[in-house]
Structure formats: C-alpha cells, structure tokens
Symmetry: C3
C-alpha cells in the first residue's frame, strides 16, 4: 500500500491531538505505529498528528518548568553504534522532559558488541528494561532488524545512507512554521550536496514531496548517482522531484535551501576532487543565495563545515533556521517518543 | 566462621522480607551485610532473604510504572575499571527503578586514576557523595580494599578472577524459579569452559553447593588447574563438587548447564590451541545437550561468543534462560542495592 | 571598576541568604552575576553570599535525603573539552541534588566538535535545551567566548592556565571553616608548585588576597615566571603577595599550605629536570611541614601525584583537608548553580 493509497483510505480522518501532560495510554490517540523506522509508512494524517503534537511539546518547552510526567518510569535506551552528540543529546533531553529514565549506550566504544550479534544485543537491552530503543547504526536497515526482535518501540536515529526520519520530521516542522498558512504546497526546496550518501536527503525527499513541495536535489554528478533514474520513475509514492548538477537551476527562486554536510571521507574515496573545489562549485554563499527568493529559508542538519558546504555569514544570517532546527528537534522527538509509547505490541 | 557454622547459629531464623516501596531504614530487616563483596559470607537465611526480596522487586518491575521511591536521594556511584555494558546498565537501571541518583565513572578511560591510588579514588568518590559504590576491577580483591576505606556500601560488580556475587545470585534465582518447589537439592549443574579465569564460576560454585546442587566443573585441563585439588579438600564450607575434562560426564543427566564465556586472550597465552578446537571439543551444541535431561536448563552469563562456547540454536532455544538471567539480574540488583542501603556503618 | 571599588560602593550592603529549598527566582536574592567566569568580578559581599549559601547547601547535604527541588526541570549541560572526572562528577552531583536534569558532553571524545566552531557548538547546546552551561576548555578565555553567545548561565569549570573559580571558592570555604572566626585576615597561605601553569593558583590568588591572607607563591624559578613582576605591580586589585623559590621561606610559620599538581608534560617541555628532583626540592613532606605552624592546614586540588608534590603521610595526615575540599566542592557548586539560575539575561 503506497502512501497515496493510505491518504485516500484515511481521507478526512483527523487524528485527535493528545493532551501531552498525561500518559499516552490513558487517552484515545489515533497513532498506530509502534516503531518509527522511516517516514515512508506515515500517512498524511499521521504526519499532521506529529506536527500538532510537536506544537503541544513546544508549549511544554515554553513553560517555566519544561517537564511533563507523561512517560514517568519508562525506560528509553539510546543505543548508538555511530558517534553523534547532537542527535543523542536531543533524544536524551526529549526523553527527560517527558520524565522518562534514559540509559545511554555508546556501542561504538562499548563491550556490548564484543562478539555479539545485533539481535542478541537487542534482546539483552530489552531484558535490561528498555521499553523504547533509539538506535543509530552505520548499516542501512539495522533498526528494522532490531524491530523484528524488540517488543517495545524502536525509533531510528539514523541508519547508514538509508533514513533519518526524526530529522525529516523536524525539517518539515521548521519549514511549515515559517511558510504562510503552514503549507509547503508549490514551494521550491533545494537540497544541496552529497545526496548519494545522505539519509537526511532520502527521508526529507519523502516528507517534502508528500507535503507538496517542489524538491530539487543538486550536487556533483558523482554524488547524485542513481537519483535521476529514481526521479524519472517517480520515487516517492509516485510523486516527482528534480535532479540537477546546476546550482543555478536549483537555487533560482527557491523558497528554501538545505545544505548537506560533506563528509571528508568522500574525498578519499575519489568521489570529490577536493573540499576547496566543492566549496567553490557548490558551497552555499551569500552571492548564490541571492538567486533564491529574497526571504528564502536556509537549513542544515549539522554539524556544519563552515566555509565548505555553507559560508559562515549564511549560516549565521537572518534567513538561517539552523538553530531553530535543533530547537524543534527536541520538540519533534518528544512528540515521537510520546506517540510510540502509546502503542502496544499486537 | 564458616557458612555452615552461620547456618547452625541462625537455624530457623527466618528473615522478614521488606516492603520494598519504602526506604529500608524505616523497617526492621534482618539483613546485616553493609557490603556485598562475595557470596561466601552469606548464610542460607541471607540468601533466602535476597531471593524473596527479588520476588518483591519482580512485582515492582511488572507494574505499569516500574519504579518505587525506596532509595530517593541516595547516590549510587558505578565505578568500573573494566569495560562492561551489560553489568553497568543492569546496576544503573536497578538503581533508577529505586529512584536513586546514579553517577557513572568509566575509570578505564577516565582521569580519576591518573597517578592516584585506589584508596585515594575511593575517598574522593565518597567525598563527592557516593553512598553505594558499585565497583568492577581487573584486580582480585580490589573491592575489599575499597570497603576498608569507604563508609557507605560497596557492591562487587566483578573483581579479577575472584568473585561476581550478583551474577551468582541471579543465576541461583533463575534456576530456583524453574525447578519444582524452588529447590536445587540434588540437581546436577554443569559449568563448562574457562573455569580457571572465571569469577562467575567461583561465585556460583559457592551458592550452588550451598543450595545443595551437585556441581560439575568441566573444561580443558589447562583451564581447570587447581580446582581438582580444591574439590578434594572440599572448597566451599566443606561441600564437595566434581571436576572433569570429560564433557560427556559433565552433561550426562544434567538438570542445568552453564556455558562460560571464552576470552580470546586465552589463546594468546597458550592455554588453548584455538577457538575452533575449543568449539569442537567443549562447545555446547544441540547434540551434546541431548545427553542432559530432556528439559535441562541452559544458562550463559553473557556476552556470548555464539558458535564457540555455545551454538546459536542452543542459545536461542526453548531450554535457554539467557534472557531471563538478564531480566532477573535487574531484580536481584534492585534487591541488593535495597538491602545494603539499610545497613549503617558500625 | 576594581574589586576594591566595588567593595566601597557596596559597603555594608549585606546580601540576603536565599532559602535554598525553593527556586531562586521566587525570592529576592542580591546576586547579580549571570555567569561565573572567574572570581575577579566578585565583590566581597558576593563572596560572602556564596559562602553563606554554601552553608545552607551543607545543611541540605546533611539531611537523610540530600535533595531539594530548587532547580527542578532546569537543564544543566556539562561540556568538558578536557578530561576531568572529579570536577565533572562534582558538578553532576551538585546539579542532581538540586533536582536539575544533567546532560554530560565529553567534547574531547565527541563528534560535537567535528569541524564546528566553539560558538556554533554553544549555540547548538543552547538550542538543545541547556540553561546552565558548565564548561571546561584547554584554551584560556574559551568560557568568555561562550558567555557572549549563550543566553543562559556559563560556569567556568577551568579554562587553560587562566581560571578555576569554583575551585578557589571551595578552597576559601574550606579554609574559613577551619580558621577561628572564619577569617583569613593575616593568615599566611603558601601555594607550592607549578604556579605558572595553574588556573587553581591564579583564581586562589585573587580570593585569598581579597580575604586578607598573606599569600606566598613558591616553586622552581621556571614555574614562577612573570609572577614576581606581577606581584610588584600589585596584581589582585592592588593587593600584594609574595613570590619565592625558597620553600623554607614559604613554609615558615604558614597557617595553610596548598600543594599543586605537577603535570608530567612539564618535564617534556624542559621546564623541570625530573620528577625525582622536583620531589626532592619542593615535595611537601612531613619534615618540611614541620616548619609551618603546628596545626597548619594542608590542601591539594587533586588528583594527587603522591610521593611527588605531596608525601602520602601528609596527604592522609590529620592536618590534611583534601577530602573536605572535595566534599565542600559539591556544596559550593550547588550554591553557584543555584545563585546563577536566579539571574535572567538583561
């Protein structure tokens, strides 16, 4: 069943926004996803529910004591096989704001993995008390494997090149909050850089096209490989998007521009000649941004290589929503931790 | 005073199980051990009290909000000189379920030890507020040294080859829960593998023989060194056990089999020819397990080297209690954190 | 405005000690420093307020449940660019005793810094929810840069050779608690060792001279460089102190002696011939301590190199306040976390 089918099926079906001060299982909430592995299984009403629950979480964050007892006693285990401070802390703060107990496991440097299969680790973590498992892994699909075993909820915190659903949802939330009427319909959004290796681009492509945006993927040909064919086939539930190596085409009259992080490893693998050349040809500078609409919004998933994929004055400029992305990230993750906690195994 | 003496002394003396929702010092509990350094100082009534307090903790874990305020405000510091994720997380979750505040110190990678003696570190940790100190150390006896200095409670989370008391107690709890009438009297329990370097085997030997089990230690001769002489002398308070290099003898009609983790370092030190040979001769496979009783229980302290000391289908099979060991580990550690917190320095 | 000017301006102005069980913003407290970057901006009434608030925190620490709800829901993020267990844990315990939520970021080993400027990191940490930022950095002045960006409170947990304000305040508190009448006026305090590279010495110089102590800095000439000229100019708000290479002069009739930690790196850079020679010439031994007053107090900021800058029997002797420094450190940091939390951005 494609996402469009789901939309038809659930047309007009408005999901009620929960009262986030109380535990999710104490109220009827229309959310039915036990896990959040990627955005491609979310219907439009699902996405709307995440957005409106995030609104409620932002209200919580604006209180003098930014804390609700909703997940008191729930064990949220953050199992990260790749180093990541900002995503880890974002989930940790989100969980603590909901009064959950947080266990951090940095599997990269931990003994959890010595000779042990992923499935055994997930079973062990569950037996240790984990009820929600937030997982980041270098291998695409690893959280899906975890979800097959784990009887609580798995939230994908980024898997290989595949998906980063919470990032896509926070980007959507951030853009909607700035566009009149909260709609992305017909808005041109350019995503610049290493699209090929980017789970951020992949998940965003889905939610942005679902929201009706006109998405342009742009970068050196070596870093767009395969996307053109995918675009022609209509990748995301039949919705189309553009692929181009021309940054001029991508930025012209854009309503929003998202610069992706360039990984230094790409140079070593020969996909890019040098960081300097990348910066010269694809870096988001003030001059280039001038080709977009005057009030075009600037996003970056962080951490930034300033002076490479984005110029410092653009990153810190008045059009930049980069800090707001981080801020909204906590609220979106609160919403998702809350929603999945209300779904029991079938 | 041996354990048997203690049993005589305290004969019939039933210790009252505490109401674990309330702080331990608010009620009369017959527990008198400020520290838990090894199981060899525990009388049989003590062990029974741990088992029944663990029953209460399992009831807590089964509640919708698996949390009691019993240790609110108590500082539990987890000072681990050896990397260990599962034991560390088990203690952390146990302490948080009792509403204690947890401080993690990974001393292996920490500056706590730069040029500082263990005694100075323990004094510092106490001055920083630690009230219960959970300690793992590569040197046998290190927690004893800590206990001489520390005025709160020390719990040994594993010291060198010497002892791992919480593991032995959770193994005992797990076995009792599966044997009819909760008794191990006359039950044959085989412990397979690197007995020589195993603190798990040493502590289990004590509690299992105390519970009346017929214990068989089995492995290559190089990894049993000294145990035969010890067995002849009657190691554990005069109680006997068997030592054999024959896995057939060890498994024949066994009621339970515990496979120990093989450390790769043992190969390097020449005590084992190769992992492949170890797996061929001592690995717990389905065929070998068939020699035991049909419903024989399988245990492993984790993390497993699947395909070496234990076959994947045995580890995941219906006789395996491996996940239940992890689950019971949290409850046993809750019980122990609770019990020692009720004992004040003399 | 120098500190003496401030003292004149605020003469007789007694700051009311807060009731530390309640949040700071609910009561009128005369504290006006949003950040604590160094002690040099503190007036004498400010310092007195820290001391008396610390008294209140010690009362909290003496309670059966050493916890107040004062900072419930406040996010205290501990961002350490240098490894440090004891200072990190001290802040963590202090924050938890006030019911704050603590986020630890070990930036030394973290991805937070990959290609990111300090200012970007601070902006990100704030967007992630940090309200108080405790920061340690190898570069002198880094917390000042952070404070320019951060809209909550920055507490300096040690920056390069520059400052360690919480250490100086806990040292002052510890000394006052042992001198009759709580006054350091006219008391001779010797600081021994690597003064040149010591942020502890620099911050202590300020508070100790402000308290009227007669401060003697002592060490090898290579490790005192520049301090003599500074002493002649009257470094700390016009107050004088002594600089000497003679340990006999420094210790003679001293009321208190503080031994500094010798960093092994100093040998490599050629500033010290060898640790053995340093120990022989400047180590604080029982014989040398005999030159001080009979009840002279001994301090060390930790971690100690026992047998080098301080002899084990001195460190563990009856005159040593080293553990009490650690204990008071938690109380002083509770006081400071509490006080800065009551100040809103202008």
């Amino acid at each position: 069943m494609t996402m469009l089918d789901q939309e038809v099926q659930r047309a007009g079906e408005a999901l009620e926004v929960p009262v986030v001060d109380s535990p999710p299982h104490e109220q009827p909430v229309g959310w039915r996803h036990r896990h959040l592995l990627d955005v491609d299984v979310l219907s439009w009403p699902d996405i709307e529910l995440v957005m409106r629950t995030t609104d409620s979480m932002r209200e919580v964050l604006a209180r003098p004591i930014a804390k609700v007892p909703a997940l008191r006693g729930r064990n949220v285990t953050i199992l990260f096989y790749e180093a990541s401070t900002r995503t880890r802390v974002s989930f940790e703060v989100a969980a603590k704001n909901l009064s959950a107990d947080v266990v951090n496991i940095a599997a990269a440097t931990s003994s959890v993995t010595k000779g042990e299969s992923l499935v055994d680790t997930v079973r062990t973590v569950e037996a240790l008390g984990a009820q929600t498992l937030v997982m980041r892994h270098a291998v695409s699909g690893a959280p899906y494997l975890a979800a097959e075993t784990f009887s609580g909820s798995v939230i994908n915190g980024g898997d290989g090149w595949h998906a980063h659903p919470t990032q896509a949802l926070l980007d959507l939330y951030t853009l909607r909050s700035r566009f009149e009427g909260g709609s992305l319909a017909g808005r041109k959004v350019a995503i610049l850089g290493d699209v090929l290796h980017s789970r951020v681009a992949r998940s965003n492509l889905w939610t942005l096209t679902a929201a009706g945006a006109d998405v342009w993927l742009c970068g050196p040909a070596t870093l767009l490989r395969g996307f053109e064919a995918w675009a022609r086939r209509g990748a995301a539930a039949g919705r189309r998007f553009h692929v181009t190596t021309s940054i001029d085409d991508a930025l012209r009259d854009a309503d929003a521009v998202m610069a992706l992080r360039i990984q230094r490893e790409r140079m070593e693998s020969g996909l890019l000649p040098s960081l300097r050349e990348y910066a010269a040809r694809y870096g988001l500078t003030r001059q280039r941004l001038a080709a977009a609409r005057p009030d075009a919004l600037v996003l970056h998933p962080g951490p930034m290589n300033e002076g490479i994929e984005i110029a410092p004055d653009v990153a810190a400029g008045s059009q930049s929503l980069i800090e707001e992305q981080v801020r909204n990230g906590v609220a979106v993750r609160m919403a998702l931790l809350y929603l999945v906690a209300g779904v029991r195994p079938a």
